[in-house]
Homo-oligomer: 161 residues x 4
C-alpha cells in the first residue's frame, strides 16, 4: 500500500536563519524526518509549496484539494501549518469521500528542541493506514474528525467541538 | 476515552551512565515523552518493570498479560524492547480478543540523537485509538498484526510475514 | 579562583514561543548550560537584562561597564548579542585595564539544533582563565582582542581587522 | 596560526549501534563538531586511531607523542578518552617543552543528549591559543596543568591535585 504525502509547509519546516535572526523556509524536512523515524512505509511525497498557513490563498487550497483528488493513492497525508489546518481539512472533507486523508503539522519546528513534529508524523502515518475513509487531523496524540475540531489558539492545542 | 499505557522498558528507556560508560535503566521516559509530544490524550500509565526485553521472563510476560486483561481500559499501549516484542504480542494476542492492544518500542534510546521513540509513540497512540479490537505492533511507521510480523535482526526493522 | 558571569541576553537565550511563532526571551539559559557542560568552575552569575543587542541602550551599556568595574572578581565573562558585541567590548576595553573580560554570544539560540552556544561558552570560560588582563571576544573558536575585531554580518562570523 | 588536532577516539566519538545495542566507534565526529561550532580556526586534523582510552597501548601512546613532536604546528589539540588522559598527558608533558598541547575528551558521547563534547572542544581550542608552552587538560571548564590533575572516577570529573 503506497501512501501519498503532500507537503505545504507550516511551522514544522521553519528553520532559524542566523543572518537575519528570523524563522524562514528553506526546504522540506520530510525526507529527513522519515529517515529519522526509521519508516519503512511506501511513500510518494510531493512538495506543493512551503508556506505559513496564514499565507495560504484559496488558490493554494484548491491546489491541495485537486492533488488529493487526482492522485492514485487512496491514502493521503498532508503537512500543513496549524493556524488554518481546520479550514483546509473542511474543504477537502466536503469534497473527498472515497479516500483517507490525514492532515498534521507541529507547534514547534522540527529544527528546534522539543519539537512535536516527529510524534505527529508518527500519529498521522499510523492513522492514515488505520482509519476508514474520511478526512482527519492528527495533533496532540488524537485523531480528530475534520468537522468536529478546532485549534484553541490561546492554549496552542487542537480540541473536539 | 482513557488509554492505559504499560511500561516495561526496552531500548527506548536506556540512558548513558557516564561513570560506567554503559547504557542502563534509570527511570521511565514516558512522562517526558508525552509532554514533549504535546499529547492531550487521557492516559493512565503504570511502570511494570524496566528491562531489556531479552531479560523478560515468562513470569514477567504473564504479568503484562494479566495487566492487559484486568485493567478497565479497552485500549492498551505497551512499551517493550524490540528483541522479544513479537513473543509478548503473541501471548497477548492469543488471549485478549476484546481490546485494542498496541506494542511499540524503539531501536534507538529516547536519550540519544536521532531516536525513533517519539515517532513510534505517536504511531502507537494513534493506532490504539483507530484500530478495531486486536493486538498490534507499531514500528517503522507501520501497524502490524501480532501474528504476521517478525523482527529482521540483521536490518533492525519489523517486517510482515 | 571565582569567575563573574554577567548575562545580558542575545540570540543565545531566545526561545521559540509556540503561541506567537516568534523567538523571544523567557529566562537565561546559563545555569542549564553550565550543568550541560559539566562545569566545575567557581562561578557567580548575575542577570543584568535579557535583550537583543540591537536594543541595548547607552544606559544598559554603562550598567555592564559599572558591573565589570565594581565586582570583586578579576575575571569576568559577559553573555551578549552579537550585533553590538564589539561596541560593548570597546567601551569596556577603553576603561577596564586591570581585569580579564571575555564577551561571547551565539549565532544560533541554545534552544535550537546545531547551536554554537555551548562551544562558545567553553571557549569564553577557558579564555578568561588563560589570558592576561584585557578585553576579548570569544567567537568562532577564536579569542579576539577587543580593538581588532568586527562582525562580518554578511557571513555571520567575527573577523580580525 | 594553524592548529594541529590529533584524534584518538574516546567516549566523545562513540555512537549507538542499533543492531547490537552497544556503543562503538564508527568515524571521528571532529569535522561535524567544528562545523556545528561555526569554528573559523585554521585547523589541520589527523585521525591516529579511534579507541577507548583503556585500550590504548604504550605503542599507541608513543605514536601520539611522536606526532606531537614531529608536526610543524606549535599548538596541538588531542582528543582522548578520559580514563587514561592524564597518563598520556604526563608522557607528553615530560618530553615536549616547546609547544602548547591541550588534551580533551568528553564524559558523554557527542551523539547523546546533553553531551559535554562541544563545550570541551571550545575550551580546548581557546586554551591552545591562549596558554604559554606546556601540556594541559581542558575538562569541566577548567584548564589543568598536566602534572597537577587527576580524574575522580567516582564523580566523573577532573580535579586539581
Amino acid at each position: 500500500m503506497q501512501i501519498k504525502i503532500l507537503v505545504t509547509g507550516g511551522t514544522m519546516d521553519k528553520v532559524y536563519n542566523e543572518l537575519t535572526g528570523e524563522l524562514t523556509f528553506s526546504a522540506s524536512h520530510l525526507g529527513q524526518m522519515l529517515e529519522h523515524s526509521r519508516s519503512t512505509v511506501n511513500i510518494d511525497s510531493e512538495v506543493l509549496f512551503l508556506k505559513d498557513s496564514l499565507d495560504i490563498t484559496s488558490e493554494d487550497r484548491d491546489l491541495i484539494l485537486s492533488k488529493c483528488i487526482e492522485c492514485n493513492e487512496g491514502r493521503v497525508v498532508i503537512t500543513h501549518g496549524t493556524d488554518t489546518m481546520v479550514e483546509t481539512a473542511k474543504l477537502i472533507g466536503d469534497q473527498v469521500k472515497n479516500k483517507v486523508v490525514v492532515l498534521f503539522g507541529s507547534m514547534i519546528p522540527y529544527s528546534i528542541n522539543k519539537s512535536d513534529a516527529l510524534f505527529n508524523l508518527g500519529a498521522a502515518l499510523s492513522a492514515v493506514q488505520s482509519k476508514v475513509n474520511g478526512v482527519y487531523i492528527a495533533m496532540n496524540g488524537q485523531v480528530f474528525d475534520f468537522d468536529r475540531v478546532e485549534k484553541n489558539k490561546a492554549l496552542g492545542i487542537f480540541e473536539n467541538i
